[in-house]
Symmetry: C2
Subunit: 274 residues, 2 copies
């Protein structure tokens, strides 16, 4: 695997490559990330990953400095996964001056996770645009686990006419259904045993909708009540349109159920497309 930190070096190395598939990450890689790298292989000739902890998407109450940096272990995993090129810029490469020009998403940035993380999706949209302009891939993969992020990036890419196919990578789950996340490591044994309830509830809501239940608000409230009764603190359970995550009473559209809830100090998110 070739590793580049300088933008000019990266561009030079990629100039003669075939179809490039790009998988941006913030490092601290787990099996879900590695699955994205393997899925990427099917979409092009050269798989490029990036590791960059993006200050711009952290809120003032979110701890940018304590975000785990595990660079050498990440490199070993990416090499084993057959990634061709790693772009690992420093902050001075990507933000040589304070960022003043932003890619500004519409209202979708203020709902669901955006309500709890003001400015987060603006920071994501801006850094992804910058990474895209460095790598200039033909396709890019983003995990469906961060569903709202995937939709923001997909819509942004289409609206700004970036010549890049945005591909949603499937979520990898433990045998009991819990979506893989670096945050799972923070769970106590008891919390880890409780955690799969989130995905079970998403499946129950999906089944209810498939069976004709159209009272989305009641389905959401019942799931929140069950979680909170079991010791969770729930930010949202929401049945939404896939495209823009807006509320809908119409079950004929493509829907997704999204959830964010805290178990102890650990905030877990998950979702399920219908």
């Amino acid at each position: 695997m070739h590793i580049h930190s300088r933008i000019a070096d990266l561009r030079g190395a990629l100039a003669k490559r075939g179809r490039i598939v790009f998988v941006p990450t913030m490092g601290n890689l787990h099996a879900g990330h590695i699955s994205l790298m393997e899925q990427a292989r099917a979409h092009g000739d050269t798989v490029v990953a990036s590791i960059f902890v993006n200050r711009l998407q952290f809120g003032p109450n979110e701890d940018f400095d304590k975000y785990p940096r595990t660079f050498q272990a990440d490199c070993d995993k990416l090499t084993a996964a057959g990634v061709d090129v790693l772009f690992a810029p420093t902050e001075a490469d990507l933000y040589p001056e304070p960022q003043e020009y932003f890619v500004e998403p519409p209202g979708i940035q203020n709902i669901l996770d955006g309500e709890f993380r003001p400015g987060h999706f603006r920071g994501v949209a801006t850094v992804v645009t910058k990474l895209f302009n460095c790598v200039q891939p033909q396709a890019a993969l983003f995990g469906k686990k961060d569903y709202q992020q995937l939709m923001v990036i997909r819509n942004m890419t289409r609206q700004l006419l970036l010549p890049i196919d945005i591909i949603g990578g499937e979520t990898v789950r433990a045998d009991d259904g819990l979506a893989l996340s670096s945050r799972n490591g923070y769970l106590s044994a008891d919390e880890r045993a409780e955690a799969p309830r989130l995905y079970r509830l998403l499946n129950e809501i999906r089944d209810a909708i498939r069976n004709g239940n159209r009272d989305f608000a009641a389905l959401e409230q019942a799931a929140i009540a069950e979680l909170n009764a079991k010791g969770w603190t729930t930010d949202y359970i929401a049945i939404r349109r896939q495209h823009d995550l807006s509320p809908t009473g119409d079950d004929k559209q493509a829907l997704v159920i999204l959830a964010a809830s805290r178990l102890g100090k650990t905030r877990l998110i998950d979702n399920l497309e219908i």
Copy 2:
């Protein structure tokens, strides 16, 4: 000259070209535009122009519908100037859906011309990003006459890491100094005779600064007073830093004098770098 309206056709036509230099316009071309096309030739192998009247940069009180469309005459001029490729998208090509994702410039978008045209530079930054993503040039030329636009695009391009050299094209002037503009055609004979005063005043301010005058506010006010005494209605005369157009008391920085003033119903802008 090859003309493309579809993005996919354009990209196909440009895929095998050498270094591409791009000159975006809104059509209604005059000798100033044609000079940009000729200047562009020195910066690459293939000169691509675009004609697109961008609804997004017109304010609610600015008449998008009445903006002059002179497509056939424009094509003839571009062909005569040796332009290789014209990109002339329709609104359905560039805005197939309402634009929701914007490239948002910082405070520079609200000063000088931005104060009089709210949302204008956001519309410019967004459409230029989209046009860049269609054409994917290695260099792009923007006239210095629209100096604030040039600075917004130069700073945006650098901050978003777009791999494009932004080149300022020199302003073309009539023999009496008046900057060429499609708006000059709206001037009466008397107004046309008066119009060169604007550029003369910019030169006088430059000379005063070169001779050691550091009272920028007094220089600005004196010029505004002279213009308004001669029947102009002046929006601003401003001595600013070139880079971000912010005010400065320091004449050791690279400065530019910017002006916008109305003669009858015609709003003229001009500027002069020091």
